[in-house]
């Protein structure tokens, strides 16, 4: 019979696959959708469906993560795992994923909704688009960072070193995403002229 530990491992892997995979597909779909200078209804619906898969993955990941936590708390509290820097860093990054996801729902989806079937090359979209590029970059980098931290068994860096590296990668990712995004918007303009 499958024990609790194995069950939680399986759920954690499913959650990670849905979350990291969904975030990747979401970012790729976003750039593919805006490539022609507009977002149509079916493209936005696809992005929303992928977003639901990412949330489902996140939920599974959080519940299975707390399952591990409870298992250790009840069976082996002497290990004191919660104060492990790697786990604290992973928790912090999961929090970033969570609030970034909520921010996407608050700002990015309404933005795309308001531009359905309208040309994206206009000052209003250009002004508001950085939030989409920024949250997209944070999402994908955070998901992969959490995945790497979960898989990297021998990592013995301090909390500060892990979070410093993570923030550096996030900063580079945000800059890169915004440069690519601006180039795309410029391209829409050139195509329309």
């Amino acid at each position: 019979m499958m024990g609790w530990y194995t069950f939680l491992i399986v759920m954690h892997i499913i959650g990670t696959a849905l979350g990291a995979g969904g975030a990747t597909v979401s970012d790729l779909s976003f750039f593919r959708s805006v490539r022609d200078g507009k977002v149509d209804r079916s493209e936005l619906d696809l992005l929303k469906t992928i977003s639901m898969a990412v949330w489902a993955g996140f939920g599974i990941l959080v519940f299975s993560g707390f399952g591990f936590f409870l298992l250790y708390r009840i069976q082996s509290p002497e290990l004191g795992l919660i104060y492990n820097p790697k786990l604290l860093a992973k928790l912090t990054i999961v929090l970033v994923v969570f609030f970034n996801g909520l921010l996407m729902h608050a700002k990015v989806f309404p933005l795309l909704e308001s531009f359905v079937d309208r040309p994206l090359f206009n000052p209003d979209f250009s002004k508001r688009a950085p939030i989409a590029f920024t949250t997209g970059a944070i999402s994908i980098i955070s998901w992969y960072s959490a995945l790497i931290l979960g898989a990297w068994r021998g990592l013995d860096w301090s909390y500060g070193a892990i979070m410093g590296s993570y923030l550096a990668v996030v900063a580079v990712g945000i800059i890169f995403a915004n440069i690519v995004g601006r180039q795309l918007i410029k391209k829409f303009g050139t195509n329309q002229l």
């Binding site: 707390f66 708390r73 009840i74 104060y83 309404p110 909704e113």
Partner: protein, 153 residues
């Protein structure tokens, strides 16, 4: 810890997480232009029920076991502040959650139909729902900090 107490602790955590999850659904639902009233009403109701159930299970665990078996271990360990500060804060802040949840639930049940035509009311409900999610996450993290500080020698 007896199996019954372990189940209470698991119930406390899972029900709390479930309550937060349901209020995330309420929060995201209230951000939409076209509201799915039925979904957010029921999510708020079950979120409220989850918080109350988490309150009862956690309260029973706290009153019958935590004080005599867990608190001394934390206070004698490397992280005494996990009880002295975090638990003291958590047990007061946590009291607020079911009442906030009940308020959102009642607003959605009684005035849900007029949310789309009353943007001020919708904004207030959304703000309250956000508050529940943020407080819920903070309380969850507090629980982890407290529980993680139970390191028997």
């Amino acid at each position: 810890m007896t199996p019954a107490l372990a189940q209470l602790l698991i119930g406390h955590v899972v029900l709390g997480l479930l309550g937060i999850t349901l209020f995330v659904i309420v929060t995201v639902g209230l951000m939409r232009d076209l509201l799915r009233i039925s979904l957010i009403k029921w999510s708020a109701f079950f979120g409220f029920v989850s918080f109350v159930a988490s309150w009862i299970t956690g309260g029973y665990y706290y009153a019958t076991y935590y004080g005599k078996a867990v608190k001394p271990v934390i206070k004698a360990g490397a992280y005494p502040w996990a009880h002295n500060f975090v638990m003291e804060a958590k047990e007061h802040v946590f009291l607020v959650l079911p009442f906030l949840a009940a308020t959102v639930w009642l607003v959605l049940w009684l005035l849900g139909g007029s949310l789309e035509t009353a943007p001020g009311l919708k904004r207030a409900a959304l703000l309250l729902s956000w508050t529940i999610v943020v407080l819920g996450v903070a309380i969850t993290l507090s629980g982890m900090v407290i529980s993680g500080a139970v390191i028997p020698k």
